[in-house]
Every structure is written in structure tokens, then in C-alpha cells.
């Protein structure tokens, strides 16, 4: 776990071409990518400390409990990683299309559709051995989620519909479909007051990483993030996507098939979120019901933006936010802070990191040799 929040990674396609010119040349100036986000984080923690002090609580207690709850014990670490697992995958749902300059915020919808597809696959394949069922679930989840976000991409490419709005609205459609199926055709009649589908079967549940209580979704999240990183920064396809993200007309002029790029990237993005949904069913809930709509898709947007849409940086940022979530309970119980205080901290971090964007390229001593 060497990588930090501001890990020295290459800038995104978006920033490279659209934002400040020095940004693109800053590959040699890795310092900026550590120092500036770290400062933003420290700044938001200080602000949050002041906020907490206004309520008459000791900020030092706050920092201690945050550490204690997120990283202080092996139990806390596992708690953090469990919460990070779905966030890595849902963050990719925003980070991948961002390479094309698209702002997709509908990861929650892809997660729900992926979960439903995975559950359906498991329910029709009850005769098969567990490994086959799990593979089918993963495939179904990824295809379901992938097609869902691809729908947004297609609407954008063929009909000029804003993908941010369409992907968000598709979340509500996905939720309605989930509720309809869970309360109607797919309902287990025994689930009287908590409408749910039939269980996928205890044998088909995916276990935890040996020696931990963290389920395999965490490992697959890391694999997906690394693969995404390689795809974006080390393949011709990824290069083409970043070119299209920078200037779509230029991309068309040089003969890139932008439509294909949009559809494939959107499919991969949705597939990541769909896989998160599959793990929620196969590793946690064991069935599909309204519990699945827990907001992981929305939290993923925050992770992607904090990671500056870099697939690799998504991993440490997801762990950080997982840690904040894990420590939230202890803050409530020890300091008597309301649950919303964690949201206040998340909001502060978000604003500070976005605001810190303006600092890039301003500090000569951080710029590195290329500028």
C-alpha cells in the first residue's frame, strides 16, 4: 500500500488537453500530485476540526477516534477495506467515461441492474456447481451494468442527449425496475414484510479473502482499476479515447471512430459498477432487495472526482473514504456527533480538492524539470 491519495500518476486526458497547458507537461512534476491533494486533505481536516470545536468537542479527540475507527486496529482496517470494495468499482464507472470528457453519474443504476442480472443468473442456474454459478453471475452483472451505461453513451452519441442527465435519470428507472421485480415477478413469497427475491443459495455465496473478513470484491476492484489504468494510459485504444476526450472534432478528423470509443468505454464503465452489484449480492446480501440501493454508486462519483479520474488513484481514495465511513460510527458513539457530520467532512474534502485544482502549475518549485 505504497500509493497515497495524491499518488504520482499521470494526469487525465481531460486535464491534459482541456485545462491548463502546464498540467499536461507536469508528468515530471509528480510532486504536485502528492503535495496539493495532501494539503487539501489537511486543510479540510483542520476545517472539520474547527467545525467540531464549534459544537464544543475536542478536535484532538476527533482525530484520534477517526484514526481509531478507520485504521487503528486490524478490525478497523477490515471495516475500512470492506467499505472501500464497492467504491473502487463504482468510481471506475465515472472515471472511465471521464477520459472521453463524459460526466457519467449513474453508477448506482448500473450497480442495481448488475445486481439484478447477477441474481437472475444465479436463480436460473441453481443446478450448476457454485463456481459456474459465480462466473455466470459475474458475467451477467457486468453485461447488465455495461449495457445500462452504454445506453447513456448511445443516447449521447446518436441523439445528443446529455449523458450526465440521462445516466442520473436511468438510476431512478433502475430503482423502479428493481422494486417492481423484487415486489412482483421475482418475489420470494416467504419474504412477507421485506420483499426480496429467492436466495441465491448459501453454496453460491462468494467467501472472504482468506484470513480476513474482506470479500473478494476488493481484489476484483483493484484488478479492475489496474486494468483500467493500463487500458487508458498504455494502449492505443486508451490513447484514442483521451484524444477524443480532449477534442472530439480533432479526433474525428484524424479518423477515430468516436462512436465506437464512447460505446465501449461506457460499457466497460457500467460493467465495473455492475460487478460491484454482483458482489453485493454474491458476497453480502445473498438475494436482491431494496437494501442494494445503499448509495455506493453515488459515493463512487465522489471517489472518482477526488482521484482526478485516474483509475489507479481511485484505489487509495476509495480506501480513504472507506476509512471515513468506518470511523463515522465511532464519531457518533464517542463524540455524540450526528451522522451528518461525516457528510460535512466529505463535502469539505470534495470542495477543497476541487478548489485546489487552481493551484496546479502555480508553484514553481513543485513543477519539475519539464516546465
Amino acid at each position: 500500500m505504497k500509493a497515497d491519495v495524491g499518488a504520482p500518476v499521470a494526469p487525465t486526458g481531460l486535464g491534459q488537453i482541456v485545462r491548463a497547458p502546464s498540467y499536461g507537461r507536469g508528468i515530471g512534476g509528480a510532486g504536485e500530485y502528492i503535495v496539493i491533494p495532501a494539503l487539501a486533505l489537511v486543510g479540510s481536516l483542520v476545517l472539520f476540526g474547527i467545525f467540531v470545536a464549534l459544537f464544543g468537542k475536542n478536535p484532538l479527540d476527533l482525530y484520534f477516534y477517526m484514526y481509531q475507527g478507520a485504521f487503528g486496529t486490524w478490525f478497523s482496517w477490515q471495516n475500512t477495506l470492506i467499505r472501500a470494495a464497492p467504491l473502487i468499482l463504482t468510481a471506475l464507472c465515472t472515471a472511465l467515461p471521464a477520459q472521453l470528457g463524459m460526466v457519467i453519474i449513474g453508477g448506482e443504476g448500473a450497480l442495481l441492474v448488475g445486481a439484478l442480472a447477477a441474481t437472475s443468473a444465479a436463480l436460473v442456474m441453481q443446478w450448476a456447481p457454485p463456481i459456474v454459478v459465480d462466473l455466470a453471475m459475474a458475467a451477467a452483472g457486468m453485461i447488465g451494468g455495461g449495457l445500462w451505461i452504454m445506453l447513456s453513451g448511445a443516447l449521447r452519441h446518436y441523439r445528443g442527449v446529455n449523458e450526465t442527465i440521462s445516466s442520473l435519470l436511468l438510476v431512478y428507472i433502475a430503482l423502479a425496475i428493481l422494486n417492481f421485480l423484487v415486489e412482483g415477478p421475482m418475489r420470494d413469497p416467504a419474504s412477507l414484510n421485506k420483499p426480496s427475491t429467492h436466495s441465491i443459495g448459501a453454496a453460491n455465496m462468494i467467501g472472504n479473502i482468506p484470513g480476513t473478513e474482506v470479500h473478494w470484491g476488493f481484489v476484483f476492484g483493484i484488478i479492475a482499476a489496474v486494468l483500467s489504468y493500463i487500458l487508458v494510459y498504455h494502449t492505443v485504444f486508451g490513447f484514442a479515447a483521451r484524444v477524443a476526450g480532449g477534442n472530439i472534432r480533432a479526433a474525428k478528423v484524424v479518423g477515430l471512430s468516436v462512436g465506437k470509443l464512447v460505446l465501449i468505454i461506457c460499457f466497460l464503465a457500467g460493467a465495473a459498477a455492475g460487478l460491484a452489484g454482483m458482489f453485493e449480492v454474491a458476497a453480502v446480501q445473498g438475494r436482491a432487495n431494496a437494501n442494494l440501493a445503499a448509495g455506493y454508486g453515488f459515493a463512487g462519483i465522489l471517489v472518482a472526482f477526488l482521484a482526478r479520474q485516474n483509475p489507479l488513484a481511485v484505489i487509495p481514495v476509495a480506501i480513504l473514504l472507506g476509512g471515513i465511513g468506518a470511523s463515522g460510527g465511532l464519531l457518533q458513539r464517542r463524540l455524540g456527533l450526528p451522522d451528518a457530520s461525516v457528510l460535512v467532512l466529505q463535502g469539505m474534502i470534495f470542495v477543497m480538492v476541487l478548489a485546489s485544482d487552481t493551484l496546479y502549475g502555480r508553484w514553481g518549485f513543485l513543477k519539475g524539470k519539464t516546465s
Binding site: 500500500m1 481536516l45 486496529t73 486490524w74
Partner: protein
Amino acid sequence: MILNNISRRRLLQGTAALGLGAAVPLNRAFAKETTVGFIYVGSRDDYGYNQAHAAGAAALKKMAGIKVVEEEKVPETEDVEKTMESMINLDGATLLFPTSFGYFNPHVLKMAVKYPKVRFEHCGGLWTPKDPKNVGSYFGYIDEAQHVSGVIAGHMSKSGKLGFVAAKPIPQVLRNINAFTMGAKLANPKIKLQVIFTGDWSMPVKEAEATNSLIDAGADVLTCHVDGPKTVVENAARRGAMVCGYHVNQSVLAPKAYLTGAEWNWEVLYPRFVKMFTSGETIPNFYRGGLKEQLVKVSPYGPMVPAAARKQADGVKAGLIAGTYVIFKGPVVDNKGKTVIASGVSRGQTDPELEKMDYLVDGVIGATS
């Protein structure tokens, strides 16, 4: 975060060793205290479901030797498992109240197997004999209180039309709607009740829309079964309609419009459970009751409720407490004309058939699907 400047690897090494010893008992000084953990799915000041449980927790805080830890807005995912474990490991809790219905399966069951020495008390009445013995499930027959509320509503309605904002057409909710309607029909046999389902437990915007459209359709007394009745109560009062509350007493939100309401009485039940727990007595795995057992109660009647209405409602209440009165007594016809409880059949509150309710009684305008 400040921590990010410390090497995570070093932290891991250090913390893994600590973790082997299971928990860090921060509260060793209080070892003689019994720590009770409460987990809520929403905020504990929602004037509804969660506040009712928080009132029960507040009653425990007054007891000697009891320490209460609380966490709100915990989703029904792995989060709640981690919250339970965190309360057990970091706070030393030995008795947990994960209060949301959706916490039970798989989360409470999973934790109960993992921590056999901890007692889990879940609200919802879902426990069956095949589940772990250190899990208990309790629930109140709140339809009794709804029935009494219905009598008052029937008396107070001038338009002869009542409104009900409901979350989902599941048995518990349908039972409340039916009991309320049947209560109202005792006062006014011709009364109609219109129901609108919002589709989920906490949908303030839809609840407000439903309230408005029910009033527009002529309803002048409203009630609801959603997690936080605040929206319905305040909106109805603003529109000049009267309301019957649910979960907790909402009269402070609408003092001039609040007739009465069906409330949980967890502040009586929880101290009862904790006394059993600390004295080493076994808490029954399956615990239910209504007005008689004081698991539910009826809000004090508002000043506008006339004596005749109070008298009839009190009579019904007394009958329910004495066990001489049965709400679901045949013949009961549903709103499609089908007889659902035959003449001569009397379904008392413990009848399992009532747990499967899938109909709306005659007089209800609305459909379950």
C-alpha cells in the same frame, strides 16, 4: 488525511498485531456496566420509527449501570454488520438492538453466529426456531392502536372520507390500513378511506404529494404508515385537515390538527428487556404484544375530540386490553367484494393468518398492486 504521511505498511504491521488481540478495550474502566448498543436506519429525531426506538434507548440511559451507545443512519448492508461488530469489539456492548426490519437477514443472523455470547434483539418479529438462540425478535400489534385511532377519525371526519399515506403494500402496512378503516366504520359505517402507496419507507416528496392529492380528493382526516410521518402531519395541518399520528406522538408538530395516534411504547419494553438481561433471565426469543402488554399505546386525544368519540374509542381500547374485543372478526369482505374472513371466524391478534394479509377491506379505495 494526516495519516497519509505515515507509511500505511507500518500502520498495518502495527495494527495487525493489535488486531490479533481482538479488540482494544477502550472502556475497560466501565467493565461492570452493561453496554447496550442501538442501531437506527434513519435519523433518531425523525418524529417516526427511529425516534420511537431512540425514546426507548433514552429510557435505558436513566437506568443505573447501563451505558447506551447509538449509531444512526446505518444502511442495511455490510455497514450494519460492521457497526454491530464495532459496538461489540470497541465499546464492549453485550446487548444490541439493531432496530431496522431489514437488518435481520442476513446481517443480524450472521453476527449472532459469530458472537454467540452477545444478545441481539431485533424489532420485527422475524425469529423462527431454526435461527440462533442468542437472537430475539419482538414486535408490537400496533394495529390495535390504529383501530382506536380509526374510531376517533371516523367521528371527526365531516366529509366522510379519510386519507392514508402508506409506504408499501406489505402485510404489516395493510393490517394497519384495514384496522384503521374498520375502526372508523364503527363510528360511521359509510365512511371511505383512500390509500396512496409511495413505494418506499422514506419519500418525503411523494408523501407530501400524496397528502395534497388526498386532501384535494376530499379527505379531511389523514394518517400514514411511513418511517417519518412529519411530512404528512405538517402538510395536512397546513392544508386545514386533521391528522392521526404514527410511530410517536406528533402533536407538537400540529397541535391544532392532531387528533390522536398509534405509538410504539419501546420506553416500557426496553427497560423490561434490560432488566431480564442483567438479572440473567432469558429474554423470550419471540416476544409480541399489543395495548395490554404495553408494547403500543394511543396518543392522548386532542382537545377538539368530543366526548362521544372519546367514549367509543375508550370502550374499544378497554375491550382490546381485556382481550374481549377482536378487530378481525368475520364476516370481513375486501374491497373487491370477496369474503376474506368468513362469518363466525374470529382472528385474534396472534393469528398467523393475519401475518399474510394481502387485501384491503371494504371501504378502502385503493389497490395492493
